[in-house]
């Protein structure tokens, strides 16, 4: 391991008076890979943004290559060879590989772009990474993993010394992950220092020389690769959350409502078998991209099924269209409320009744009184607060109240199976518990089977009767009763 490349000392950062980093130290040597672990909100992103010059620290010192810097801006950070690779692709999919590598700095001669020189240089960089991608291929036609490697190649054109990789493997297949690690080994041999942010504990042991764990803006653990202990890492990441949370009262039912038999969908998930009983709430827990939400999409006909089958109350069900799924008694709450859930400019009453207009009709005419009554009934039962009542535009409601309306939409339709994706995303903490209680009560009272896809372990603990943990498209563990706790969930999914 070489000399110290990066030294962050006693970094504090506050946003409008609230401190999010409480004096964090971080060191990185050349040719070293440092894995940075931590739950959402631990401060990982803030810390690396400070290193990239994106945001200034409130106090603390930064030294790069032994030189202490009074301040660091984005331009300076680039000059010093600090580059970030994000989870989301930042490429131009309609341009070629070579153009993408030199994006924004195309080699010119005499004012004109020199294509031959650009392709020659691009080839050199790809060779250096030992990546075999044709330089004249269109970026958009490549696989996600290959495009991620292009981003790294682009960083190398500017002689990167420090590479920050922010969850680069989230969208990659295992083959692509291996390839990324091979590239990282290459860079390591060339003396590049890397900070690797991830949620995946199995990757950490494979790729990192050292691991640093952040929790609530404090560095809580730093260990060498040889000393990595999975349980210790999870405990460090979770802190108090690792303590047992009160579990809801168990519901015992035995009549299966929804059954999936060896269900598969191309690369998204495979051989998933599970059942949800009447009145039961089952959680599919896993990181985003692990296949949890994708399974629910398939059951609601939003994603093709390539193998296996679905049974609902013993009847074979093959997904055809969302409308057909809804008619079969299935309800679906998407994670992206604004894009897929609500009709922002329409009233709350309409947003609720949209699933039931046929049911509320006499001789083909929608009975508007029934529409208003339905809203008033659910507004009272679920404590939905809407200042102007049934006629208020839904977009003007708080996230929690909007979510209650979207849930009531399916309750009113009397669905037998309800699929929920991240049901409390963008909902404030107070309304969250409310929503958990509503879902559990409704499942019990109307014998509805509820399947929840979530990446929030606390949600699983507070909401579900049973939890199935997913990783990389497969169910890896089932937890029931009191064995559903944050520690086991995070450990099994990482």
């Amino acid at each position: 391991m070489g000399k110290d490349l990066v030294q962050l000392r006693n970094i504090h950062k506050s946003y409008s008076g609230v401190e999010v980093l409480h004096g964090v130290d971080l060191a990185l040597a050349s040719g070293e890979v440092l894995a940075l672990l931590g739950e959402n909100g631990a401060g990982k992103s803030t810390l690396v943004k400070i290193l990239a010059g994106d945001i200034p620290p409130t106090s603390g010192t930064i030294s790069i290559d032994g030189t202490e810097l009074a301040r660091l801006d984005v331009y300076q950070a680039r000059q010093l060879g600090i580059r970030m690779i994000f989870q989301e692709l930042n490429d131009a999919p309609t341009l070629t590989v070579a153009e993408n590598i030199f994006l924004g700095q195309l080699p010119r001669s005499g004012g004109f772009i020199s294509w031959s020189e650009m392709e020659k240089k691009a080839q050199e960089i790809l060779d250096r990474l030992q990546v075999k991608i044709p330089v004249d291929a269109i970026a958009g036609s490549l696989r996600v993993g290959e495009r991620q490697l292009l981003e790294i190649a682009r960083a190398l054109t500017q002689n990167a010394k420090v590479l920050v990789l922010d969850e680069p493997t989230a969208a990659l297949s295992s083959v692509e992950v291996d390839r990324l690690f091979t590239v990282m080994d290459q860079l390591k041999a060339q003396g590049v220092g890397m900070i690797y942010i991830t949620h995946r504990l199995d990757e950490v042991a494979r790729v990192a020389d050292r691991v640093q764990v952040l929790r609530d803006g404090t560095s809580v653990l730093t260990v060498k690769n040889s000393e990595i202990d999975r349980t210790a890492l999870v405990t460090a990441m979770l802190g108090r959350a690792a303590e047992k949370n009160a579990r809801p009262e168990a519901v015992h039912t035995s009549k299966p409502a929804l059954k999936l038999n060896k269900l598969s969908s191309r690369l998204d998930y495979s051989d998933v078998s599970l059942h949800v009983n009447e009145g039961e709430v089952v959680a599919l827990f896993g990181k985003i991209g692990s296949g949890t939400a994708e399974i629910l999409e398939s059951v609601f006909s939003l994603r093709p099924v390539t193998g296996g089958n679905i049974e609902i109350f013993g009847e074979k069900f093959s997904p055809k269209s969302p409308a057909a799924s809804a008619e079969f008694g299935i309800g679906y709450l998407p994670a992206d409320r604004q894009r897929l859930g609500s009709f922002g400019i329409r009233s709350v009453a309409e947003n609720l009744a949209v699933t039931c207009w046929k049911k509320m009709s006499n001789l083909g005419f929608v009975n508007q009184r029934k529409e208003f009554q339905a809203f008033e009934r659910w507004a009272e039962a679920l404590r939905i607060s809407s200042r102007s009542g049934a006629t208020q535009e839904i977009a003007t409601l708080s996230g929690g109240n909007q979510q209650k309306v979207l849930l009531a939409r399916w309750f009113e339709a009397n669905v037998r199976v309800l699929l929920l994706v991240e049901p409390t995303r963008g909902v404030d903490v107070g309304a969250r518990r409310d929503i958990y209680e509503i879902i559990r009560r409704q499942a019990r009272e109307s014998n509805m089977a509820v399947l929840v896809a979530t990446s929030d372990y606390e949600e699983v603990v507070l909401l579900a009767d049973r939890a199935l943990v997913m990783a990389r498209g497969k169910i890896v563990k089932e937890l029931t009763g009191d064995s559903v706790d944050a520690q086991s969930l995070v450990s099994a999914s990482s």
Partner: protein, 326 residues
């Protein structure tokens, strides 16, 4: 219908903070100002017969505006209506003289159905943007209309009643339009189909995810639009006693202007048929007034273009104000 959700959607956002811009208020003010101005400027303006003229002129466009408003609420537009009306008129003129009225009208109806199905297929199945699909239709069908009479007007005999009859001294086109408008208002407000149009326009992705069969609904609406255009073409030909390839030129512009003036959002999700009728009245009063004042007819075109841009600008400005407050 003061509690109707349609009215609410138009005013709801602004009501909540105690300051409101009812969408139709400026339009009504503009209409009243025009009426006052034209009554003073022309002695013929305030005359029963003149009102009939205004209404007859409004009726033909109005027939097309009913499904046109449905489409705009769902976030789509049909620009092929003008040329479709022209083809329908030519078809009628070519067939009525030899094969009779029933056969001629049946041809118009079938033409409307077929065109609607074609538009529907392109928009919902092939997935071509509706603006482009129907812009292509506009050009193609205009060519067909010219082809049908070698670019000439085709005279037609014995079929004036559809355009000129006056049962109970009300011109028949006005009666047809009034019936369509009433059916349209009820459909939009009170049927699952009509309500679904608002949902599709407000958020097409969410509409799919709540189980609305969006493609089927849009398909039906495109068919209604083409059939209405074919009907309007037949009425127009009957009024003129001739099939004229240029008779309905610019109809699509008038339809879109009326709908947008009436408060329907180009982005979909908002709009009422009563608003569209108000928009139609504004356009026709303006046209009629300019004619009475003997203003050269090309000024009508200029006025209409300005009106369309003014209406859209007003819609945008209103949306910005609402967004800032929300």
């Amino acid at each position: 219908m003061s509690k109707s959700t349609n009215a609410v959607a138009a005013d709801g956002a602004t009501k909540t903070k105690g300051f409101s811009i009812p969408q139709t208020a400026p339009l009504i003010v503009f209409l009243l100002a025009m009426v006052v101005f034209f009554s003073i400027a022309s002695e013929y303006f305030l005359d029963i017969e003149n009102f009939k003229n205004i209404l007859v002129a409004l009726a033909v466009t109005g027939m097309v505006c009913v499904p046109g408003t449905f489409l705009m609420i769902a976030g789509h537009v049909d620009l092929s209506v003008g040329s479709a009306a022209a083809v329908s008129g030519m078809l009628l003129a070519q067939t009525v003289n030899s094969k009779g009225i029933a056969f001629g009208l049946a041809c118009c109806l079938i033409f409307g159905l077929v065109l609607g199905i074609i538009n529907g297929i392109f928009v919902t199945i092939v997935g071509v943007n509706s603006l482009i699909t129907t812009l292509g239709g506009l050009a193609t069908l205009y060519g067909v209309a010219l082809l049908a009479g070698n670019g000439q007007t085709v005279m037609m005999f014995g079929f004036e009643w559809l355009g000129t009859a006056q049962p109970f001294s009300i011109p028949l086109p006005i009666i047809i339009f009034a019936i369509l408008a009433v059916i349209g208002v009820i459909t939009l407000r009170r049927t699952s189909y009509g309500r679904s149009l608002y949902a599709i326009g407000a958020n097409p992705n969410a509409a799919r995810v709540v189980g609305i069969r969006s493609n089927r609904i849009l398909f039906i609406t495109f068919v209604l639009s083409s059939v209405a255009a074919a009907l309007a073409g037949a009425v127009l030909a009957s009024q003129l006693s001739a099939g004229d390839p240029n008779a309905a030129k610019g109809l699509e512009l008038e339809v879109v202007t009326a709908i947008v003036l009436g408060g329907a959002s180009l982005a979909g999700g908002r709009g009422t048929l009563l608003g569209t009728v108000l928009g139609l009245v504004v356009i026709q009063v303006l046209n009629n007034g300019l004619i009475l004042l003997d203003v050269p007819s090309f000024w009508q075109r200029i006025a209409q273009g300005i009106l369309l841009i003014a209406a859209v600008s007003f819609d945008q400005i209103r949306q910005k104000i609402v967004a800032q407050k929300g």
